[in-house]
């Protein structure tokens, strides 16, 4: 089992038309700050490295960094605390509805894809659905509609309906990835932020066999 680095992950996803937006990897504070200013505050700083699989639990992620001063403090603190790392990710503070998306190997059925609603939906209500890969458009829509909280993705209490077309496309691309990349064991996107215009993968993890 091997955890892919951010760069490896990004390259692999690119092959399947999955773009990681608003996120860049840096080792130098100066360049990192230029990028943060470009995407605009607030931003997120996250340590990336093979040893950091659960960034939140390992205190390797700091969200909602509001200005240049705070940025420098946090960047340096993380840099000192985590010696063994690939670098530090600067990421836009994404907005939208939270989803979890994953790929895995089932002993009986082989590669499976999972989608669920993030936050309490997945943690408390276990609101997730599965399909065996490969899936088609119809399967992708059905697995979203199966979620108990599906309605929250639609035009719900004043929030706009998320871009379902894009979301379905992402699921199909992932299904394609697990079928073609035989050495990929599992993949986790948790969370993914979806809005009416875009899909942003905030946290990603790919494990090879």
């Amino acid at each position: 089992m091997k955890v892919l680095s951010f760069i490896e992950t990004r390259n692999l996803l690119k092959k399947y038309n999955i773009t990681v937006r608003g996120t860049e990897l840096f080792t130098e504070e100066k360049e990192a700050l230029i990028y943060a200013k470009k995407i605009g505050f607030p931003v997120v700083l996250k340590v990336s490295g093979e040893k950091i699989i659960h960034s939140t639990e390992q205190n390797a992620v700091i969200v909602n960094i509001k200005d240049e001063k705070e940025f420098k403090e946090v960047f340096n603190a993380l840099d000192k605390k985590f010696k063994d790392k690939e670098g530090i990710l600067v990421q836009k503070q994404f907005k939208g509805k939270e989803l979890v998306i994953g790929l895995n190997y089932d002993q009986t059925f082989g590669p499976v894809i999972m989608v669920g609603l993030g936050g309490i939906f997945v943690e408390v209500l276990n609101d997730v659905s599965f399909r065996v890969c490969p899936i088609d458009k119809k399967d992708a829509l059905a697995m979203l509609e199966e979620l108990k909280g599906f309605k929250t993705l639609l035009d719900f209490r004043g929030s706009k309906e998320v871009d379902l077309e894009k979301l379905i496309e992402l699921l199909l691309n992932l299904s394609n990835l697990i079928i073609k990349e035989e050495d990929v064991h599992s993949l986790d996107f948790n969370p993914v932020f979806v809005s009416d215009t875009e899909i942003n993968i905030a946290d990603l993890l790919i494990i090879k066999k």
Binding site: D106, Q107, T108, F109, G110, V112, V128, S129, F130, R131, V132, I135, D139, A142, M143
Partner: protein, 442 residues
């Protein structure tokens, strides 16, 4: 290739026995009921059920299509090799003691023997198979099931026996029954493939604990077969405790139940929750084809109607509004002031009110299935109503599910319905489950 298993010309039972209450005598007495050429093999007794025995399969002069092996686990592979030598076309290994108890090596060897000998292998660790068409009961099930168009594949012998007993002398019956055991040779997908083209089979009913092997093949085959014939499945081992019971039972891993349910959906398989739902649904499908989403409800009690709507709505079954044309046809029902779907023809309804209501609703295009509910009231005419239902079922050819709710009062009427292949489910919720399972989205 399975034709030699289900339609053999000659059958040898290896391990035939006279001793009452044994597997060897159970199968022997079941086999004698068929008109096939039967040979009994047992080196230790001269006669079984008055019939001459052979000391080994090799001693039989005539050809043997199918051999049933019911000998101690340790000598199964030896006997199987003899069957290869005899050029037997297929074997059913009843004997246990293989992968289900961790003895994988012996099972692999058995599989090799069959494969290299070009011989079909059913089991091991199974109850056998039944083909009602030829009265062939190659199993130790205590009863032979009624004939019909349902095929049953079961991973549990006990559930299979129970289903045979429950369905005896009912309005439905079976074409083929298979207890498939450890699937060392023929696997679940192979049976589905065979049943897809089997003329006697209209519905495939399955009891499943876990898929032993070839999960992806199962998904691929079932997706194809379910477009030809409906497949109904009851899957057990959904909880952690249930799972460990299954693990010790058939040696299969009852995987994540969510994944199983997803596979069933993907494959177009109808998944049910209970043995009763399995039977009710398979029965309805043995009478009717699946229908599009849209049910009309007629009742003589408002309460039943509300219950039905609650259940159907939760299950995603559509209850279309009545159209203008339908409403004008219903004008004949003078006493009925409120006309909706569900249509309450009121407690004092005689059979004629049901007839007018049914004719009108059956003619509405987006009503694809009819749900007729009747409770006991002073004026209720169960048999007359049943007659009308039977007549209109023939006239419109749309599925009609009945729920005559009660006891003795409806017994005769229910018998009439069932005899005419109209299912009655005596409880509203269970009836709505059948309607849901009959429905497919176009």
């Amino acid at each position: 290739m399975l034709k030699y298993i289900f339609n053999p010309k000659s059958v040898a039972l290896i391990g035939a026995s006279n001793e009452p209450k044994t597997v060897g005598s159970g199968i022997a007495s079941n086999l004698l009921k068929s008109k096939k050429k039967i040979f009994f093999v047992n080196p230790n007794s001269k006669k079984v059920f008055g019939k001459k025995t052979y000391s080994s399969v090799l001693e039989i002069k005539e050809g043997v299509d199918l051999a049933i092996i019911a000998v101690p686990g340790k000598i199964v592979n030896f006997v199987a090799s003899q069957c290869v030598e005899k050029k037997v076309k297929g074997i059913i290994v009843i004997s246990a003691g293989f992968s289900e108890v961790g003895n994988t090596e012996e099972e692999v060897n058995l599989r090799k023997i069959a494969q290299e000998g070009n011989m079909e292998l059913i089991g091991p660790n199974c109850l056998g198979i039944i083909n009602t068409k030829d009265n062939l009961n190659a199993s130790f099930a205590p009863l032979t099931p009624s004939k019909g168009n349902i095929a049953l594949l079961s991973q549990s012998g006990a559930i299979l026996d129970a289903i045979i007993d429950i369905s005896k002398n009912k309005s439905y019956g079976f074409s083929k029954i298979v207890s498939y055991g450890n699937e060392a040779g023929v696997d679940l997908s192979d049976y589905l493939e065979y049943l897809a083209t089997d003329k006697e089979t209209k519905v495939i009913m399955m009891y499943l604990e876990g898929i032993n092997k070839n999960g992806r093949k199962f998904l691929e085959v079932a997706s194809r077969v379910s477009k030809i014939k409906p497949i109904v499945v009851l899957k057990s081992g959904k909880t952690e405790s249930g799972k460990s019971a299954a693990l010790t039972h058939t040696g299969s891993l009852a995987g994540n139940s969510k994944i199983y349910s997803s596979v069933f959906k993907q494959a177009g398989i109808i998944e049910v929750d209970s043995l009763e739902e399995l039977l009710n649904t398979s029965k309805a499908l043995s009478f009717y084809n699946r229908s599009q989403n849209g049910v009309g409800i007629i009742t003589n009690g408002g309460g039943f109607g509300v219950l039905a709507v609650d259940y159907l709505d939760l299950d995603g079954v559509k209850i279309p509004k009545l159209k203008k044309e339908t409403l004008s046809k219903l004008e004949a029902l003078e006493k009925v002031k409120t006309k909706n779907n569900p249509l309450d023809v009121l407690g004092d309804a005689l059979a004629d009110r049901y007839e007018i209501a049914m004719e009108a609703l059956l003619q509405q295009k987006n009503i694809h299935t009819l749900f007729i509910i009747q409770g006991m009231q002073m004026m209720t005419e169960p048999e007359k109503t049943a007659k009308i239902i039977i007549k209109l079922r023939k006239k419109y050819n749309k599925p009609i599910i009945c729920s005559f709710v009660g006891g003795d009062f409806f017994k005769k009427a229910i018998d009439m319905l069932e005899k005419n292949k109209i299912p009655n489910v005596e409880e509203i919720k269970r009836a709505t489950k059948v309607i849901k399972n009959l429905t497919y989205e176009k």
